[in-house]
Amino acid sequence: MTLTLLVAFGLLLLIGAPIAVALGLSSAVTIIAHGLPATVLLQRAVNSIDSSPLLAVPMFIMAAALLSATGVTTYMFDLVRMVVGRVRGGMAHVNVLLSLVFAGMSGAALADIGALGGMQVREMEKQGYTRRFAAGLTIASATIGPIFPPSIPLIIFAAAAEVSPVKLLLAGIVPALILTAMLMGYIALVAKRQNLPRDDVSPSIPAFLRLSVISFPALMTPVLLIGGLLSGYFGPTEAAGITVAYAILIGVLIYRTLTLKTLIDSARDTVLATANILFVVAAAAIFAWVLTMDQVPMKASAWLLGISDNPLVLLLILNVVLLVAGMFLESIAAILIIAPIVTPALIQAGAPPEQIGVVMVLNLMIGLLTPPVGMSLYMMSITVKMPFAEVLRGTVPFFIPLFLALALVTFFPGLTAWLPTYLME
């Protein structure tokens, strides 16, 4: 049964069918061919997205869209530039730090590239960086977004693996900081060798204070989100809704750039992005149901635990599987298909669910940078009108810091499990 499913899915992907359709039709064909109840098709397609936790997805997309629409990203860019710009390779450091700051508002790598990518590459080019280096760094730093809370892939992982979304969101903080440090460390290492320029910004205390005051309300977004989750005032979905309300509030009252038209435009863009993601989620739920009917999760658990019951060994296997899967599968679909299969075995072997979630998402985000299905590469290629192969060439060196961060998160479970345990217990 699984063979029929996978072959049909692969063929449909090859002919360019939408991913949701490839997942849904391969499942439907398998269901009919093997005499399973066809009633499950519509039932799963609706019930899988009839979910409160998944409502966090559109909310986080909308919060990022609204904060972007207020124009605050320009002030944040200037602020970060003033702090680290003067060092060698300053604008490259600014690029990474800005992605970290924006990660506190957005939960997706592609949103980060869409909102900041053009500006980051343009500014770096102005200062003498090659376009290839700027594009490569920008898409590498965009992987911070889906790791730092709010993170859309981590929320989807939590729903698929049935683990606490709050713990998972908190578990992403330290790995995101490690990723940031790794990228900045790499820039510092190559700065002298490649003679990267220093920023020509002239820092001044009044300008710094002015930019800090202007950026402060937007910089408080992750604080509100994490504080709300920890205090128990609201759950992840409610936190997402409150973040949207907060973005509207500061956009109208403080930045005064948010109009009714901007609000409606942001809501419309959010609906379009959400429908694309959740249609895949709905179809992947049917796909996952077929896999469950064929007892794939149980068989995979037995197979994995047969190889080893050491969580580190299993996580290393998971890394290899996910890096390959990430080259061919869209990240959300990959999470929904792979998470229910491998998570039970890894948990049984003693790996913390938070570590599994972060390792999985980090792997798949690296997968966004690998062809043939490297969505970040395509996005950057479109955003800065640069050939795909050139973007890929620019990205290759940045795999070193990304893989180092992945290795650290894989080898040291405490990096993911410590913070949620400390804060929640």
Partner: protein, 171 residues
């Protein structure tokens, strides 16, 4: 530039009726999205300030989320904006690319038709079942979703016809 890069298959502008209908559905979805935000904020406020739960608000926001997704899916299909892996098909010459385009649209048609059939079988016995908080019958949630699958079939047929007609005109 290679032949493959010069010849992307793009469906012509849609007929006015389909365009208007899908845009209207997107308008409704946008409204539903704003409703979800309002309901979530209301739930947080009601629980923290007045210690009351709003199970109906929770159910309405969930259903609004489902409907927003399915009301928007036809517009994405009409514009060819559903996420797809086109790296393989883009590398093909024009004719095989056209074949893949038609096959991809046929797969959307087949998926929608099979889901509709499965939905029909399901709703034959479950249409009257009521939801826990609002107490509305299943048909009010599943019915509109099924209509969106009907619309997806219409869109797939139109896109196949439009592209083939355009191709014939070019030849």
């Amino acid at each position: 530039m290679s032949d493959a890069l010069e010849t992307h298959i793009v469906a012509p502008a849609p007929p006015r009726a389909l365009d208007l209908l899908t845009r209207a559905l997107l308008g409704i979805s946008t409204g539903l999205m704003l409703l979800i935000i309002a309901l979530i904020v209301a739930q947080v406020a009601a629980r923290n300030f007045w210690s009351i739960g709003l199970p109906r608000a929770e159910e309405i926001s969930r259903f609004s989320g489902v409907l927003a997704v399915y009301f928007t899916a036809p517009l994405l299909a009409l514009r060819g904006q559903h996420v797809a892996v086109d790296v393989f098909t883009n590398a093909l010459p024009r004719m095989p690319k056209l074949v893949c385009f038609v096959l991809a649209e046929l797969s959307l048609l087949a998926f929608s038709a099979l889901t509709l059939w499965g939905g029909w079988l399901y709703l034959k016995r479950a249409w009257k079942f009521k939801t826990p908080a609002l107490g509305i019958q299943n048909i009010w949630l599943f019915g509109p979703v099924m209509l969106c699958f009907v619309l997806l079939i219409v869109i797939a047929l139109w896109r196949i016809g439009a592209v083939l007609r355009a191709e014939r005109a070019v030849r």
